[in-house]
Symmetry: C2
Subunit: 463 residues, 2 copies
């Protein structure tokens, strides 16, 4: 493991690196075509599992399936675990039951849970049945916690030591039990005889202390407080807040159950970010958008809601059918009011949803945000009311039309600013996810305001 | 540091915790009002810096300023560094120059860079002038790298050891030089006499190895390859890919310059996520959206672009002025086509922007995404063309109108699906940030398609 790709890479420019990568991709494709299992397996094993997984993911769907079928049990376990969800599921699907059972026995407990989640219920039962009752109980442990909890995410391997141990004792224990400890850990957890967590000693602190120092003298308070049934998003928040690399997971009585590491938490953060971003644009879920059917399923529900709200807006317009009939310019200009108002609403909404996700909307901050957003709507409202009025007035040579669209634009901006922050805050207060339904509410509210104010004012001022 | 809030917290329900927190907030507010510096300083020091920072951020803007003014140099350095950007800037602004200089000398090098970034140019010069030339050179080191690079983010304190050292030697060195090593680190970096990075030994590995083992025998290859002038986003990507807790930063010749830790990287990930989410909704920047003026500045540019594109869409409609004049129902229905088409385009765009950000659009994946999105547009197009045609036909009792809106809806959906993925991919290929300008392009393209196809077909079929 000590030859250094760095020293070779340095001499390559980025372009050369990219070319080499494309050539490797091509070689893999050809090896799959030629069914050259030996070359394929050797090449994948030579790479870091994360790089090997990347390489496989860049194949076409068919080539990927072929590669997995070809490799079968020779597909290394640590590559499987690095694959993205949909690819990992496919790889696990392609492996025979015994191979999956063998994979499970090799993995850390948190990765075991990931694979178990991938399996269909009856296949999971069949595979677990092949194991000894002890192995089965141990494997199923993480799976017993609810989805998206810290318990599902944690690994049960960690390094714990009693309070009365010295630094030397802890180091000797690590040396004597190297195989039973996880590959990576960053802290020693100090526990009492009933496994209650008393504190933690970061490895850097352990390393700096003399052998005869007691762990209880150098241990720190554990700042995080992560329970196994806690939502993973809350656990991720604590990692961010206290800048953690790992953290203990306990039961309600404070007894050690497992350990979360930051790499899993980063994945959670990215998942939540993806969910928020997609939800704001009316896409239901990040998972399995890899087939057309998945995409349709993830998007049709919000389009259906939008179908309803769009006809609601049409209904508003139809009230003013007579007005438009008399002045067709109104039909030409009304999308301008709706488009700009909707844009202003979306801007405020995005800021609010992000602030809520980063917990910057607690306490007094929410009230301040409402005031700020409404004033922003007011300020932009003045600017763009004047702009729109000038263009429309000039275009159609009508001061009345300019006045009408200007006032409507202003009203819509203020309303958009206000509802862009109040809608997500209200949804949050009601216990709903502010990212999910906010968009459709805000856009409907601004559309209605836009059409109603513009056409309503037109029928008062212009006719 | 060994009394345990956990054991107290357990007995509290969440509600009690929240009440206690609100009471504490109230006490802080009163202490600020009473100018009780002693109580305030003691209370803040008693909390974890991250919790103390949270507490201060929940005060109103005025109370926060008052608290900072009151505390002055008694505001602990580690709380300042935990404050969110805009609050930290205000706190630094409020401190006298000597106090800032004192703060700088206490901090780790990466935090020094953060504070230096906060300062106005002339104030920064003034403060740095107060320091000895050595201190100044050392403090300015990180500041020499470009904004948003790994060099700005890294700390220059790390633990490096020569290849020939044994495990025992490394541990003894850590014990003897405890004060010179960073508080937190997760790896020992193995370097040659010219400071070139040869490999790394995770602390867990060091702990498990016998004293007489050579570091070169247990060191691992460093998978990441982070240069000081590399964009921080690229560095963050490597952390995610290789599941790192920390990583070495080198110069182009592979010589060790510093170390990145995952807590800083998590902040970068969150920043980039915020930028993408806001950019997709037409908000320019995440920073300083705390005043109305900032908000207007961050949003008006895209509203101005939208003003232009909205009138472009109006121009399309005005071509069909005569058609609308003859059939006012067209004015009532045309926003439905535009709204649903725009929604479908936004959905595809959000999925594409997210996939690009997570580097899931490399190689063959981009081609597959274009096909998938176009087919999704086709499928949803069929569904919603039928839905819209049925409702419109029934509402206005016109088969011709139903046919017109159905065909226009279908065409707009396919077009929205295609442009929702092709626009961000094209922007990316041109070297632009796909999140930033995509939205306005996609929405303009779908608006134009919606109005043109609906009104154009209407003039062919219905008149």
């Amino acid at each position: 493991m000590s030859d250094l790709p760095q020293t070779q890479n340095e001499e390559q420019t980025d372009d050369q690196g990219r070319e080499a990568h494309l050539a490797l991709e091509q070689d893999v494709r050809e090896a799959v075509f030629d069914k050259d299992v030996r070359w394929l397996s050797r090449t994948l094993n030579r790479l870091h599992p994360a790089d090997a997984a990347d390489l496989l993911e860049q194949l076409s769907t068919d080539d990927f399936s072929d590669a997995v079928q070809l490799l079968g049990e020779q597909l290394p376990t640590d590559i499987i675990i690095e694959l993205r969800d949909e690819y990992r599921e496919e790889a696990v699907d392609a492996l025979p039951d015994e191979a999956v059972a063998a994979v499970l026995e090799e993995l850390d407990s948190d990765d075991v849970t990931t694979i178990l989640e991938d399996l269909e219920d009856d296949r999971r039962e069949r595979i677990l049945d092949e194991l000894s009752p002890e192995d089965r109980a141990s494997l199923e442990h993480g799976f017993a916690y609810g989805e998206e909890t810290a318990g599902r995410l944690m690994q049960r391997e960690y390094f714990a030591a009693p309070e009365f141990w010295t630094v030397g004792h802890a180091i000797d224990h690590a040396r004597d039990n190297a195989d039973d400890l996880p590959d990576e850990f960053y802290e020693v957890y100090v526990i009492d005889p009933t496994h209650r967590l008393k504190g933690q000693v970061p490895l850097a602190t352990l390393l700096k202390a003399a052998r005869d120092v007691n762990l209880s003298d150098i241990m720190e308070e554990v700042q995080s407080d992560i329970k196994a049934d806690m939502d993973q998003e809350e656990a991720a928040y604590q990692f961010q807040k206290y800048s953690l690399a790992s953290a203990p997971v306990t039961d309600d009585a404070g007894r050690m159950l497992g350990m979360l590491t930051v790499d899993d938490v980063v994945d959670v953060i990215q998942e939540e970010n993806t969910e928020d971003l997609l939800a704001l644009s009316g896409v239901n879920s990040a998972d399995g958008s890899d087939t057309v059917l998945d995409s349709v399923k993830a998007r049709a529900p919000w389009l259906a809601v939008n179908l309803f709200t769009a006809f609601l807006a049409s209904g508003i317009i139809s009230i003013f059918e007579g007005t438009i009939d008399q002045l067709v310019q109104l039909a030409i200009l009304m999308p301008v009011v709706a488009a700009l108002g909707g844009n202003a609403g979306s801007q405020g909404l995005a800021v609010a949803v992000r602030a809520i996700a980063e917990r910057e909307m607690e306490g007094d901050a929410a009230r301040r945000a409402i005031v700020r957003e409404t004033l922003t709507g007011l300020a932009n409202g003045v600017i763009f009311a004047l702009g729109v009025a000038a263009i429309a007035g000039f275009w159609f040579q009508s001061a009345g039309l300019a006045l009408t669209i200007g006032v409507a634009m202003f009203a819509t901006f203020v309303w958009a600013g206000f509802s862009g922050v109040v809608v997500p805050l209200t949804l949050k207060r009601l216990g709903a996810d502010p990212a999910v339904a906010s968009s459709v509410f805000v856009l409907t509210l601004t559309d209605i305001m836009a059409f109603f104010s513009f056409l309503g004012l037109a029928s008062l001022i212009l006719l």
